[in-house]
Amino acid sequence: MPTPLIARRTFLQNSVLGMGALALAALQRNGEGAPATPGLIQTPHVPPRAKRIIFLCMAGGPSHLETFDWKPELRRLDGEPFPESFTKGQQLAQLQGIPLKARGPFCDFAKHGQSGMEISALFPHLAKHADDLCVIRSMQTEQINHDTAHAFLNTGSILKGRPSLGSWLLYGLGSESENLPGFVVLTSTGKTGVQPISARQWSSGILPGQFQGIPLQNKGQAVHYLDNPAGVSPRLQRRILDDVRALNAENARRSRDPEAEVRIAQYEMAFKMQSSVPELTDLRSEPQSVLDAYGIREPGGFASNCLLARRLAQRGVRMIQLYHRGWDHHGGLEDGMKAAAQETDQATAALLHDLKQSGLLEDTLVVWGGEFGRTPMGQGSGRDHHILGFSLFLAGGGIRGGMTYGATDELGYRAVENPVHVHDLQATLLHLFGIDHLRLTTKFQGLDIRLTGVSHPKILTPLFA
């Protein structure tokens, strides 16, 4: 249990008004870094560089060819038949049985920062952070459809019931946020290229339910069933909680049922969330300049989710995962990419800026990327799913800025230099948290299940600062 029961009981005896001050005290305590709920790993396997992660999932699969992987040769071939030497025998998604033609990138690239990193013109804000970014241009995955590719990226497996990265981190390292869930998920929807996303992606699977990701809603209640019911005053709700606690305590004494004690603690945590979540989601405490920097126009969009991500990071939440559903551009690539870039570019940059300013970037790992990339071959006015080469970037949390790692071939088809498999990325992320991916396991059906499956991935040490 997080804190000694005595402390929690004292806490509960405080009035509702006292609650805010105490919650604040708890927040400040969290800054000191002692886990509120300890995890499995008492001593880090390797020196940790990151404490929390903000995973900006660009759901649908952004084109690497219009973001971070500049391919002049592909532009030259635009409209020509795509060389069969590349594609023979390879998987295709919706392009199955269709003549393959090269599609050149529609936007220009320029070099940015001291590092001279090539970033497409669609991301002017992000380009200013070139020297903070570590772009991997040689990502590869095994799954060519959205549902399974997300599962693979999050859980390292397409088998159902495997825990996602956030759940693994909570299970391994515990939670540092005493009155917020340790794994929070926010979703937003773009203009085009919208694909569904399943709650399976933040499921704790075979790990116990306390490690699951908690979605933060932007409509209705922020967390399901968080708000007091209509017609119930805070005072009366508090009174109900007090009586539930008292009767549960009597039951615990009588039955000696240890679960009754746990139940008492969980009701207290629920009550704390009732004040900590509204405090978290209330953006009125942010100055207008900050809202403008993120480009927040509406609640629940990617921009406000980015600001919430920063606020969650400040409150010690271990894993913050954002999904922006708007990158599946089978058709209308040009308008779609422009829209999606506009929806995400400024806020992502503002988030990086904010984290850097406050020093949080030091131990906060930021990941930006989708479940796969897009074909250098055209599909009507768009691009199809592509798994043999795509781009993704990391920043902060012990990552070297201003570097690119790996490369695809001249047409952006296949990763040819330092290919990075999804399992490599996962093992590296765990490593940055001080975890040897081989040693973070849970027993299920006789197997030691781990995030990286049964593979032997490599740790991407050149990426480390």
């Binding site: 959205h146 569904p196 075979i206 399901h224 069933y225 969980q266």
Partner: protein, 993 residues
């Protein structure tokens, strides 16, 4: 020393040795160590057997390795390299190697050493050994206690005291039906010594089937949606009805097995048996464009193998998809040979007719179902249909009695039908248009370039109009077809009807009440076919050479005055018949084919009410009842079934890679590590697979099922790892008991209820619940019962039953209970339009909750229900703040608290009496004096608060749609609701002790 004394000495030293060093049991003491630390590299997988050493079989383990070393020399630890290697401190030498991160504990090393000294005896793995009934003479009624008491005695432990009757009754009731005892049940227990009668009543309650179906549905991965990507609805609830019914009828488990796996292959299968075969269809499916068909067909097959392995065998067969099993004797070939049993099941890789051309699914997109399906009778819908039919007649009849003008209408109608025997009237004329030309027969010949939006202005006699009919007529100028030739997807036609007044003003479109057609192809919405054409008519493609007609009646009849026109707009780009003809009727007719009878129709109060709208209140109720009737879909329902077709060839896929077709072809075969089926035919089918699973020779199925059953009644399985009876699982705490139970299950004719009865009548079951002792912290020796938090569905059922609002209906479609408005927002293809039901179905049991695989209802998810992507035989149990928030603030539980409050307000008189009744209802016990005092204080505080803020009380009463009694003031109901919220939130309420 004489020989006799030597003999004595030997005996005594042997017994001395025994007391010092009890012989190790391989299955209990050694196999778990070897399996966890050694088998991964020295075990069953022949492709990964380092140094040629194999430790899972004694004969192999004793052979010299390639190096000449002998791992195990029985009785000689000094010659056994195994001992040397596990004791080594050299990182290059020590086993297991450090990189495996599986170091042996000192006590395990010692145990292995001792075992070799004792001669390294092996035992076959416990779960796979034959299952004799042992001892055969044991009285089944005492058998469980016989084994448990013996084990307690051996540990010098004492069985705990029996539970008091009220505790035991609550336990029995929750365990056997998933519902708490009613206060009446509790009272009758006083005259039921030993609760014998109560036990029998519960064993035969129809709730028994619902309770055990809830358990079984996890194992078979039952869900309302397909799981992948868009996660669309599938039609499968009749399968759930089948499972409920099977438990209520106590269908022998071997029959139950056979029908689910191969019901469709039985000779002349009944509809029920075909529905049962829907089990095979519960694997996840996809409608995502761009999938690789072969990949998904491989996924569907392997899911079926895993499901059978999990639900029947308690085996982790899935491990053998890519390689021979590491820990159990399951080969990769076994996996695919099992898969081959399912190769005959008709299965589409992609349920989309546009992304992947498929003649069977031409034009199919987001809203379509997932065939093959069959349509069967649904007793639930039939009961409901009957109920609403009666209600409909009642409403119309009552309204007629209150309206004497019915007689005038009756007379006028009789006259009208005499002059217009069909009931339909053609318009005087239709305003000229460039889009069509009027024909002598009243039809309109459309111009081929008329465009996709056609407007017809009908001049009709001044009168009330209650219905519109459209006839599509074939004509030579369109090859005598009413549809565009060669387009089976045809049109989807929904006319918009307005009244254009003589002064030019235009009414809103008239809402349709219902409509039917002479011929129609089904149209779908979220996986279900529309019960009528009020949302659109799709003329039948197969009958496109015939005239087709459709009629719609309006929700309210409309009056047409002189000079008014009825404007009919048809906006449908595929609307291309050659000729169309309109007619209208003053009667609320919705069927273009059945003519109203001149003698019966004028006496029909339903027709009167719909045609005149004479009683607006009655008409609104009539429409509601009618809508309910339509949704009963004639008392029938579709259900996914297995349909056998020519089997697709099945190959072993090297490393599970569906793109690698180099592996050998396999035929259906049962796994080699278990005895084959006697007298099996040469070519095996799913019938043989099912018979093999429950054959006399198969020891695994009854062990797995009885072990899972035990957990439901005792809190932990006899082997705690329910989903893996293999080497990596846990050897049973009472192996002889598990074997006896398994054998009894088999030999009783697979009598499930009998086994439940034996368990709940045992003394072990009936003990007081208490935590484990120092000697037995996890309470595995069962000196006491173990408390058990209710499963998600029963947390709900319990609250609704306590509240007295549980819907008693059994079976039928899943329902949407209250859910957070944002729950399904991240779903696509299609965007979901779900509404919580607003009648008594809202209070259906948890097993009828809509089971959305990608977004499980948060109440279910928070209380650890699996989303059923896969067969799941072991629910984990967490204790989280989300559970607290759910019980505190989920409208279902608030409404239950109010229902409970209203129930208490009805039943007793004083505050104390009511609190007493509340505790008895929720917890089956009276409150303690401190509890009573506390609750009385709370009641007082809540009362004053709600009296001071009556608007709060009214707001609280608005949660849910349960009516509040008028005669009780709102603050009083709100105050008691507050009390009941406390009772429903107690840990004790959601725990069975």
């Amino acid at each position: 020393m004489n020989p006799a004394s030597i003999c004595l000495l030997l005996v005594s030293s042997a017994s001395l040795a025994f007391s010092e060093e009890p012989p190790l049991r391989f299955n209990r003491d050694i196999r778990p160590i070897l399996s966890e630390h050694c088998f991964a590299c020295h075990g069953f997988d022949r492709h990964k057997r380092d140094s040629g050493l194999r430790l899972d079989q004694r004969e192999e383990a004793l052979k010299p390795a390639r190096s000449g070393d002998r791992a195990i020399v029985p009785g000689h630890q000094e010659l056994s390299t195994l001992v040397e290697r596990i004791l080594s401190s050299d990182p290059e030498e020590v086993m297991p190697p450090p990189k495996a991160h599986k170091p042996l504990k000192p006590e395990h090393k010692e145990r292995l050493r001792r075992w070799i000294t004792q001669g390294a005896p092996y035992e076959p793995h416990w779960a796979y050994t034959p299952l004799p009934k042992n001892p055969p003479e044991l009285d089944p009624n005492n058998a469980i206690d016989h084994f448990i008491d013996a084990a307690l005695k051996a540990k010098s432990m004492h069985p705990g005291a029996p539970a008091p009757a009220n505790v035991l009754l609550r336990r029995l009731s929750l365990d056997l039906t998933g519902l708490p005892p009613s206060p009446d049940d509790l009272r009758s227990a006083d005259t039921d010594p030993g609760l014998q009668e109560s036990t029998e009543r519960l064993l035969h309650s129809p709730r028994f089937g619902e309770r055990w179906a809830t358990w079984w549905l996890d194992a078979v991965r039952f869900a309302d949606t397909v799981g992948f990507h868009g996660d669309q609805n599938q039609r499968i609830f009749p399968y759930r009805d089948y499972v409920i019914d099977a438990f209520n009828q106590n269908l022998p488990f071997d029959r139950f097995t056979l029908e689910q796996i191969a019901g469709d292959l039985l000779p002349e299968p009944t509809p029920t048996q075909r529905v049962a075969s829907g089990f095979n269809r519960l694997s996840m499916m996809t409608r995502e464009g761009g999938i690789q068909p072969k990949e998904y067909l491989a996924k569907y097959m392997s899911d079926r193998v895993r499901a059978v392995g999990s639900a029947w065998l308690g085996a982790t067969i899935g491990c053998a998809e890519c390689h021979d099993h590491k820990f159990d004797p399951i080969t990769q070939k076994d996996f695919y040979a099992l898969g081959a049993f399912f190769a005959d099941i008709q299965q589409y890789a992609l349920y989309h007719g546009v992304f992947l051309p498929n003649p069977d699914l031409k034009g199919w997109t987001d809203h379509h179902p997932f065939p093959p399906e069959i349509e069967v009778e649904s007793p639930y819908r039939q009961r409901r249909l009957q109920r609403f039919t009666a209600e409909l007649h009642q409403i119309a009849h009552t309204a007629r009695l209150a309206h004497p003008e019915f007689a005038d209408w009756s007379k006028a109608t009789r006259e009208f039908l005499r002059s217009q025997p069909g009931g339909w009237v053609f318009p005087h004329s239709v305003a000229e248009s460039t889009q069509f030309k009027s024909q002598p027969d009243g039809s309109l010949a459309l111009d081929t370039n008329a465009g996709s939006s056609l407007k017809f202005a009908l001049r009709i006699p001044s009168s009330p109009i209650a219905a519109l009919r459209i006839e599509l007529l074939p004509s030579p100028e369109h090859q005598n077809r009413i549809l565009r030739s060669g387009d089976p997807d045809a049109m989807h036609l929904l006319p918009s009807v307005r009244v254009r007044k003589a002064d030019g003003t235009l009414s809103d479109p008239l809402a349709f009440r219902r409509g039917h057609a002479s011929h129609a192809d089904p149209t779908y919405f979220q996986g279900e076919h529309q019960p009528d054409i009020s949302k659109g008519w799709k003329p039948a493609a197969r009958h496109s050479a015939e005239p087709q007609s459709a009629a719609w009646c309006f929700q309210k009849p409309v009056c047409i005055a002189d000079g008014d026109r009825l404007e009919v707009t048809i906006a449908e780009k595929r609307f291309a018949p050659a000729r169309v003809r309109f007619s209208v009727s003053p009667l609320a007719l919705w069927d273009p084919c059945t003519l109203p009878q001149a003698d019966a129709a004028p006496e029909d109060p339903i027709l009167w009410l719909g045609s005149t709208g004479a009683d607006a209140v009655a008409l609104a109720r009539l429409l509601e009842a009618e809508q309910q009737m339509l949704e009963c879909r004639n008392g029938k329902a579709f259900s996914l079934v297995s349909k056998s077709v020519e089997p697709a060839p099945v190959r072993v896929l090297p490393r599970g890679n569906w793109q690698d077709e180099s592996g050998p072809l396999v035929l259906p075969a049962t796994p080699g590590f278990l005895p084959p089926l006697d007298a099996a035919p040469e070519h095996l089918s799913r019938l043989e697979l099912a018979r093999w699973l429950t054959s006399k020779q198969n020891p695994v199925t009854p062990r797995a099922v009885m072990n899972r059953l035990w957990k439901q009644l005792f809190g932990t399985g006899l082997s705690a790892v329910l989903d893996d009876l293999g080497a990596q699982g846990e050897p049973p705490s009472h192996p002889e008991l598990l074997d006896w139970l398994a054998a009894e299950f088999r030999d009783s004719g697979w009598d499930f209820r009998h086994m439940v009865r034996l368990m709940v009548r045992s003394n072990a079951y009936r003990r007081n619940a208490a935590p484990g002792s120092d000697q037995d912290p996890a309470n595995r020796f069962l000196a006491t019962q173990s408390p058990r938090r209710l499963e998600a569905e029963f947390v709900r059922d319990n609250a609704l039953a306590i509240a007295g609002i549980l819907d008693p209906e059994i079976g039928g479609p899943s329902v949407h209970v209250y859910f957070p408005e944002s729950l399904y927002r991240d779903m696509e293809f299609p965007k979901r339009v779900f509404e919580p039901v607003a009648d008594e179905r809202q209070w259906r049991r948890g097993l009828y909750m809509h089971w959305q695989r990608t977004f499980l209802h948060p109440m279910l998810a928070s209380f650890d229900a699996p989303n059923r992507d896969e067969s799941a035989c072991l629910r984990t149990q967490a204790n989280t703040p989300q559970q607290a928030l759910t019980l505190l603030n989920d409208p279902t539980f608030l409404e239950a608290a109010r229902g409970f409050a209203q129930r208490l307000l009805q039943t007793a008189s004083t505050d104390s009496d009511r609190i007493q009744a509340g505790f008895l209802t929720a917890l089956c016990r009276p409150p303690t004096s401190t509890e009573l005092e506390r609750i009385l204080n709370l009641l007082g505080a809540a009362r004053s608060e709600y009296l001071a803020h009556e608007e709060d009380a009214r707001a609280l009463l608005k949660t849910g749609h349960l009516p509040a009694p008028d005669q009780v003031p709102a603050p009083e109901i709100a105050a008691w609701t507050t009390v009941c919220r406390v009772l429903l939130n107690l840990h004790e309420t959601i725990t069975r002790y």
